[in-house]
């Protein structure tokens, strides 16, 4: 699962792979349009629905947070 998430990030936001901080959106590593693309790809890749309430900066603060979000949704 992690590998697939990283693959998607690599396609839409390569910088996110090397980012070590906690604030991707505020630091301009990822913008809201890239988030839309990433969310769409994640939903399709994992056949999950990422409700709008999860599409917040906190869940996209770094790659680990995105992986954690997907893991949580897969468990539901």
């Amino acid at each position: 699962m992690e590998e697939k998430v990283l693959e998607i990030l690599e396609e839409y936001c390569e910088e996110a792979l090397d980012y070590e901080g906690d604030n991707m959106m505020e630091e301009g590593v990822i913008d809201s349009f890239t988030v839309i693309n990433v969310v769409s790809e994640l939903e399709d890749a994992f056949d999950i629905e990422i409700d709008a309430k999860y599409v917040v900066a906190e869940n996209f603060r770094n790659k680990e947070a995105i992986i954690e979000l997907v893991a949580r949704l897969l468990e539901e």
């Binding site: 809201s32 939903e43 917040v56």
Partner: protein, 285 residues
């Protein structure tokens, strides 16, 4: 550089607004105006507050339109209001004040597609080109004189959010080109020519009336799906369709190659004329 404007108030949200905010802040030393930002429509992914904090720009959140109207009404100094990705309609009494100048960017090539959600309507109507317009604001919606326009192509797979992103970039580009002229009050602006067929798009309108008729050609369905696709922003409710006599809500869609077809629950594959498939994932209501 000289300007009589003492304040520049930016109202809006999103990527273009953030870039315009930074640009305006960075140019203040050239002119001596005081910039400020008002958030009228909070957005979950907005970074404008952070930009304000980094650049020492006053930030205020005023989601209530009466509060915002009241605040703007009290402005006494000569002020430029920059309306960027902003749906607040400025009251006529404010627009007509001598000390207030308002410029707005509209995400279409005015006089075409005035009103709301222009990126959706240009995709839905099959346009191959669109753009942005910076214009002076008058009492009428999207009617003011045009300061600058920038255009772009619409591709056969362009989704509403992708087009919006392109338009945001053009909006920023256009703003940088016209800002000095607006501040120095020597921008050459031309009146719009209105045709009798001019049609205002309202926020309550949804392309296809929000319904996907699977009996229509997949090319047309794909166009509708793309036209309302803003990701999770909730600009439009999910499209609905009928499956085996039951109402369903569309969760997502994708154009896929035939070899990528995977059978699954609540999934529909419709063939395009070129052999590719329109994959639609739905949920029965």
């Amino acid at each position: 550089m000289e300007t009589d404007f003492r304040r520049v108030v930016i109202i809006g949200y999103g990527k273009a607004t953030g870039e315009i905010l930074k640009y305006t802040a960075d140019r203040r030393a050239d002119y001596g105006y005081t910039p400020e930002f008002i958030e009228h429509e909070p957005h979950a992914l907005s970074v404008t507050k952070q930009i304000c904090e980094e650049r020492g720009i006053p930030f205020a959140s005023m989601p209530d339109k009466r509060e915002l109207g009241g605040y703007l009404d009290e402005i006494q100094e000569k002020t430029l209001i920059v309306s960027a990705s902003n749906n607040f309609l400025f009251p006529a009494v404010l627009v007509e004040r001598e000390n207030i100048t308002i410029i707005n960017f509209h995400n279409a090539l005015l006089p075409d597609y005035p009103g709301r959600n222009a990126p959706s309507w240009v995709i839905y109507r099959g346009e191959v080109q669109t753009g942005i317009t910076w214009h002076y604001v008058t009492a009428g919606v999207d009617e003011g004189n045009i300061i600058i326009q920038k255009s772009c192509e619409i591709g056969p797979d362009t989704k509403a959010y992708e087009l919006t992103e392109t338009l945001m970039d053009l909006a920023y580009e256009g703003f940088c080109e016209c800002f000095d002229g607006v501040l120095q009050e020597n921008a050459v602006a031309r009146p719009q020519g209105f045709s009798p067929e001019r049609r205002m798009y309202r926020s309550s309108e949804i392309p296809g009336d929000g319904f996907l008729d699977v009996k229509e050609p997949p090319e047309k369905l794909y166009c509708l799906l793309r036209s309302v696709d803003y990701g999770k922003s909730g600009i439009f409710p999910p499209l609905q369709m009928e499956v085996s006599g039951k109402r369903a809500e569309i969760l997502r869609y994708r154009k896929v190659a035939p070899e990528k077809k995977k059978e699954g629950a609540d999934m529909l594959y419709l063939p395009f004329a070129d052999g590719e498939l329109l994959k639609i994932k739905y949920r029965l209501l």
